[in-house]
Amino acid sequence: MQQHPDYRFLVALRENDSRTLEELYQECSPKITQWVLKNNGTVADANDLFQEALISLHASAHRQDYTLTCPISALLFTICRNQWINQLRRKKKESEVRKVEAERYTPESATVSAYERWEEDQLQQARLDEALAKLSDTCQKLLRLLGKGTSPVEAAEKLGMSNANTVYRRKNACLNRWRELIVAKGDE
């Protein structure tokens, strides 16, 4: 599958490129704000929804096999819309949910499939996070440090380990444990 030209925004999320991300805010914020305001929300709600949608895509953007197959604005709008409906539902505002759902909204099929993949990604990320949180404190500390880009040599110093090789061995043991927890959760 070919990457949509908007994939550059996913690269911008991955690289924290504020200039490119600003283009995305310029393009998307008016429509999302207008829609949320029309559906019993505030500008702050719109901002929250949009930011969390971007954060969720940020995790996907780190995956090498992730392909964006539709315009990112359409995907973001669909994510925000559905998340807002979920929030209204959680707040038991059923009448508003019905009103939102009654409105005609049929995204392009490419957006629908992109959204479905996004949903699967969210479940997978939640599974990873849940298992990660069950690891020992030392493992969590080590993995988070390395995730932030700290070099193994530096991580060894910070965690009182003898050298980078120890860090790799420890990391390997932590990742094995992490994997076991993920598999165990999947078997439940």
Partner: protein, 246 residues
């Protein structure tokens, strides 16, 4: 697959493997299915860690962009601090003020109520920026903007325990205290703002003047009004109008 295989994969994914080791590993991944699967799995875990590691910095960037692109019209047009204006706008405002003065202040100004009530018209606040204490911020904001001052005083005090540097919230706390007739506590808060050197310092003096007017101490009020800088044209115009009535 043994421990050394995994360690080689980790060094590769961490970007620490040398060119030769990289080439060997990539070659093996094309030939050995089990190794390729292990590499893919480890890559997924590493990618997830990288994403989570970089998330706080991205949140900071998005917070800034959110503030810029998701602004409530109601709050932005009525911010506490006047927005910076272009020279021609300043001239137009100055001309408008001069015209109002020459036509007579009473034409635009309500004549009923005490002097304090006439001038104690508080601008709404907007505290609901993303971050910690959001729920409290929105409750405090709502209570203040709906003039439930006893409640907003309590909420703002709690909010300020977490966001001690928020001068806007501090000013709103002072106003809430003043409106709930806790004048001396209010004066202390305004005093702190006036001495803070922050952009809201002139408002500290403005409200110290209003608090003095409320307590009938007009001479004291005049002293505070004198401290409002002419560069703050919006507040200076209000101060001049108040001075004219004292």
């Amino acid at each position: 697959m043994n421990e050394n295989d995994y360690i080689a994969i980790e060094a590769y994914l961490q970007g620490e493997a040398d060119q030769e080791a990289r080439a060997a590993l990539e070659k093996r991944a094309t030939e050995d299915v089990q190794f390729a699967a292990a590499l893919a799995e480890r890559r997924q875990l590493n990618d997830h860690l990288k994403a989570r590691g970089k998330e706080p910095d991205l949140r900071n960037t998005l917070d800034q962009l959110g503030k810029k692109y998701f602004q409530s019209k109601e709050t932005t047009v009525r911010k506490l601090r006047p927005q910076k204006r272009k020279p021609w706008q300043r001239l137009a405002i100055a001309a408008a003020i001069a015209l109002v003065v020459s036509l007579g202040i009473t034409f635009l100004w309500p004549s009923k109520g005490t002097t304090y009530e006439q001038f104690a018209q508080h601008q709404p606040i907007s505290l609901t920026e993303r971050g910690t204490g959001d729920e409290l911020a929105s409750q405090a904001e709502a209570a203040f903007n709906q003039e439930r001052y006893a409640e907003s005083a309590d909420l703002l005090e709690r909010y300020l325990q977490e966001q001690a540097e928020d001068q806007q919230a501090k000013l709103a706390l002072g106003i809430s205290l003043l409106e709930s007739n806790q004048d001396s506590a209010a004066v202390n808060v305004f005093q702190e703002i006036a001495e803070s050197g922050s952009s809201l310092a002139p408002y500290g003096n403005w409200y110290l003047a209003l608090a003095a007017v409320k307590r009938g101490k007009n001479a004291e009020a005049l002293k505070f009004l004198d401290l409002i800088p002419a560069t703050d044209t919006y507040l200076k115009a209000r101060a001049d109008r108040l001075r004219a009535t004292l």
